[in-house]
Symmetry: C2
Subunit: 212 residues, 2 copies
């Protein structure tokens, strides 16, 4: 039942936008009784949040190409492809995160959990001798992905085929030059701070219209 | 008259959100007759676009601290501050860019024009001998700013005081290691391509609800 309901969220969101995504529309499309949908998900924010949680509940693993630069490039290709699809559920979810504080929280959780899974990319690079530990894996991976997001999400620019490789290469060069050094894992510091911050509330208000 | 009208856009946007930003509300707040506002700006998309154009029509220059890393860090501080304000007009404009294709185009124009003004930061670094030319200045600066945007715009995370300096340092290390090499200016290639792309239409559809 949950699957049926959540499967209706993405298509409705990309087809009709946030304003067309209503509990009633989700109920109608999924064939689940509207009272049930209201009881379990309450509102559109609840539906979006649970759809993002469900999307994160998969067995996705980052690419394993044999080199750090290859892995980061393949990861950036995945990001750019997800943002370039017409229609793009990823972009629609990002847009929705400005309308619902609940969706914003779930989007953040989803992204951070994806970045957690990417730590293995950096661990493998260290094991191969490509990088000298300690390296702040999350910061390195975010450094690689963020120009791709910047291009599509902030600039609304058409996909740039060269960007995934360029951004991956820049992150690798920065890492090799010592940009993402960190205290060893398990020690206090940034890592623990990041985790605490990830649990904190995202800011609401400016730019967000948590009307749901 | 234009100034009076456009000055009303930002405050209404942050106070009431995109849905509360109407031509009538802008007319009322600015004291300009609504027929005049409709005639000149047509709709909310037109008002947002012109407000962004007006915001770009200033004498802003990137920081000049005496070093490439210092300049990029100060620039990142400015970006993070603009995104951290409560309320943040910058964040509200980014949110609005998902609602109006016209606002998205103007946001992109605004950002690209800011990045053009930042080329001097890289020129100064080259003149000081900090970097070996040729360097793709825009790519270097975007590499520095994009983790800051990623943090606030994608993750909706609270400002991270360490991030501006970390992102600036990573971009400088990558640049020194040769990440943003380019053909010399004036030659064909990426630079010309970027400019052509900046004039192209931003994608609409997925994630955007250009209802205005």
């Amino acid at each position: 039942m949950r699957e049926k309901v959540l499967e209706a969220v993405g298509p409705l969101l990309v087809e009709y936008g946030f304003d067309g995504l209503t509990v009633d529309a989700v109920a109608a499309r999924s064939g689940v009784h509207r009272a049930t949908v209201y009881r379990r998900w309450r509102d559109v924010g609840g539906l979006l949040a649970d759809a993002l949680d469900a999307a994160g509940d998969d067995d996705w693993r980052p690419p394993d190409t044999g080199s750090l630069e290859g892995d980061l490039r393949a990861l950036n290709d995945e990001v750019q492809e997800a943002l370039a699809e017409e229609p793009s559920v990823a972009l629609a979810m990002i847009a929705a995160s400005f309308r619902s504080a609940e969706a914003a929280r779930s989007l953040r959780r989803f992204c951070e959990e994806r970045y957690d899974r990417c730590i293995v990319v950096v661990d493998r690079a260290v094991a191969r001798g490509e990088l000298e530990p300690p390296v702040e894996a999350r910061k390195l991976v975010v450094s690689s992905t963020s120009p791709v997001y910047h291009h599509r999400v902030l600039l609304h620019a058409p996909p740039d085929p060269a960007l995934p490789a360029e951004a991956a290469r820049a992150a690798v060069l920065a890492a090799r030059a010592g940009a993402f050094r960190s205290p060893p894992r398990g020690s206090s510091g940034r890592r623990a701070t990041d985790q605490a911050a990830a649990k904190a509330e995202p800011r609401t208000g400016a730019g967000t219209e948590p009307g749901t």
